[in-house]
Symmetry: D2
């Protein structure tokens, strides 16, 4: 088995494709619908944090942390499905985006400053 | 090098942790703030699809697909950062959630039907 | 002219209906699409606040406040359009929901406590 | 009573301010937190529509329509609260934004075309 085939994202992609196929759900999984499902899960994630202080958000108790972990999982699941349907390589896209961010936010210029890149121009 | 260390998600996690540390940005990366950043990116993703038909969303042209790929990358980046800050294992969480979904949505019961689990009860 | 006709929400509803009709945009304004547009704008709103402390979010400078005001306007615009397309009376729906909240969150029970209703059960 | 005081948005603003004050919840209602609550509700809204076709989204049954109406109410509630906390006049902001949209999207140029303004440049 190649290193690629053992990769966790690739394994999840395959398992999720089989999950949808076994339920005849590909008909519902248009990129438009999957993007909606993803933002819905992201909204559920935010609801866990909306009344917490930043400090509290760093120290979730076990039950809350479990629930938040499942929201993160839901987001990852739809992200993988959407990338699969669009034939986007998530890892390559992330590597490209990180390279862009490294040039947009040079470390010596933005150290300790979270303003967005456009605000520097 | 172990298989674990070669895993794409683990490699991205390390690279993103170094990116933040080099910019002294960990102070901004509370789980609360990262959840907000993630949903903001998910909102940008949805904006690409909101006026498209489902059919059009399946056939994005090259330029649009590139832009959408970068939105997916942004979401993955914040997802990995948030999981890292919460010490959640994304792959394990996703595996757990898929197992839950497999029991909530038995294939013979939900075949071709996208209604949510609670609607069956 | 009746009090109803002078109401600000009703006036905005009419103006937005005319705006869409003049551009032949009703074809794009399905409830599904308008819900996507609304969450996209909500994501833009959140982006203004994601790296601010709560305290900073209470003291936006004039330029930022102007931009945030326009995000709020965008959300209101899509909210009014969506309610119009679904034939939902926003004011009545809000009054109903506030009444529900008043019984779910009795003031003596939840005073100074932001936990959600289900957590009390 | 002036026309202003009878306005539905102004009445809701007052009622919601009293609701929060009676529960000592203003401490949680920073603009940052209210923006999170709003996007969380927008995510719940989208979840109602994610597996529906556009056509189905135009013909919700009574029970679903009631639930969607309450999501719209939740969004309006947080929108009014957030505008109140920021001292933004929602109606004026919406009027300004509609005027901007009228000049960005001249009717003769964009008739039947939903592309965003920047794509015309």
């Amino acid at each position: 088995m190649s290193a690629q085939a053992e990769d966790s994202l690739e394994q999840l992609r395959q398992r999720l494709a089989e999950f949808a196929a076994a339920r005849d759900w590909d008909q519902f999984h248009s990129p438009k619908n999957l993007a909606m499902a993803l933002v819905g899960e992201a909204g559920e994630l935010v609801e866990h944090f909306q009344w917490l202080t930043e400090e509290q958000s760093r120290g979730l108790d076990g039950e809350r942390l479990k629930a938040v972990g499942h929201e993160l999982a839901d987001i990852l699941i739809y992200l993988i499905r959407l990338a699969d349907k669009l034939d986007v390589d998530l890892v390559q896209a992330a590597a490209e985006k990180i390279a862009i961010n490294e040039s947009r936010y040079p470390r010596e210029r933005v150290r300790g400053d979270a303003r967005r890149a456009e605000e520097y121009d």
